[in-house]
Symmetry: C2
């Protein structure tokens, strides 16, 4: 059976403006690879209702899972929950279980559960809450869309909450060989190698270091023994 597929949707004007460098994509990509869910696409869109709704619709109908990052806080620019509700055409309002979580949290910390904070309890009908052990305000899963915060520590905690509820596939294993020759020199034999091992994915990632050209040849697959054979063959071609 093929692995489940996934896309990520990053909501973030501050990433598109170059002010902030995204960290969540790299984290999620690693986590999904480890559990055998294939991340096929990432989109970054601005904090714009129509752009978020359109992307959520097309990604959720194309892939098995969609993970969103950002836009679920208490301020006016946090519109992700409403957009996901709109994408699935379901109502959204403050929900009792989410409100109770926030109530307990702000009571403990002696802060007021004001109207702004209460916005974080707005959950689309039919969604399941995602636990947030860092700062309480929950994410949620609506159908195949998992809606999470943009702050990296909270995003990571929510990913840790939601991934164990999903069915993974065969973890993708990567092996790599560092070859200190220009890509142009290794491209011919590498093409032959990639055809011999057509069941594996073979990538070449060039680098330049201290004036020398090299490439990391990365072989990916789900069968460790097959990868061992491939790496043996690769070492024979290029030296280890």
């Amino acid at each position: 059976m093929p692995n489940p597929t996934a896309a990520m949707l990053v909501i973030g004007d501050e990433i598109l403006s170059g002010r902030t460098r995204d960290a969540n994509m790299h984290f999620l990509a690693g986590q999904l690879t480890d559990m055998g869910i294939d991340l096929k696409e990432v989109r970054v869109v601005s904090d714009d209702h129509d752009a978020i709704v359109a992307a959520a619709k097309v990604l959720s109908s194309t892939y098995d899972h969609v993970f969103t990052s950002g836009g679920i806080g208490p301020t006016h620019d946090d519109i992700t929950a409403d957009c996901i509700a709109a994408a699935f055409d379901v109502p959204i309002d403050v929900r009792d279980d989410a409100r109770a979580l926030l109530h307990a949290h702000y009571d403990r910390s002696g802060q007021e559960l004001n109207a702004a904070r209460l916005r974080m309890a707005r959950i689309p009908n039919g969604a399941v809450l995602i636990d947030n052990p860092v700062s309480t305000a929950p994410g949620f899963t609506l159908q195949n869309v998992h809606v999470m915060a943009g702050v990296p520590s909270v995003f990571q905690a929510m990913v840790a909450s939601v991934l164990p509820t999903l069915t993974g596939g065969a973890p993708l294993i990567s092996r790599s060989l560092r070859v200190m020759r220009g890509e142009g020199d290794i491209a011919g034999p590498l093409r032959t190698f990639s055809e011999t091992f057509g069941d594996l994915s073979v990538g070449s990632y060039p680098f330049q270091k201290d004036g020398l050209y090299g490439a990391n040849v990365v072989v990916r697959g789900t069968d460790a023994a097959r990868l061992d054979s491939a790496m043996d063959a690769l070492s024979e071609i290029f030296g280890s």
Copy 2:
């Protein structure tokens, strides 16, 4: 006149697998912001012909410019040039001017211009070459799509080659105020502020540091005097 719009298309299995953390998005976002081209969307897709062609088509018809990153080297997994040619339905072959560049480069370095390296002279009909002062093999612009390398040093050099050929708009200016209060406390007055300055974009980006909650309030616009007024008003609301 509104600013020109742009999208970025990152071609990269190694980013989707979590092996490499993308650096080009952050760099390009900053450069475009400085010259008044609005980066509206970024997509990361895998090294897959159909995925690259489909994304190139939709992005090039939606935005004024598309910048691609990755997949233009000499190895078998470098398929971007062919995909962009397919997206615009134009022929692609080794082109004399690109071959001459590579020929001179490999002659100087005493390396052979073999079949693999010659693939880097495959340029779609009608494209304009993008200068690569780092490692010679050119990028190209076909219609509104600018095709560049994935290696960050080469990507950055190509961006420096291509951006001066484009018409920018009004540079987007960002100002920010760091407020050491939880977002839930500032959300109410911040919404009122964002309505008062409806012509500016107002974002709130929460953080947690040493157990304290705060937010960076970021105001963006193209009119420096207007931003000064906004920041004065913001300081009055939250203290400076």
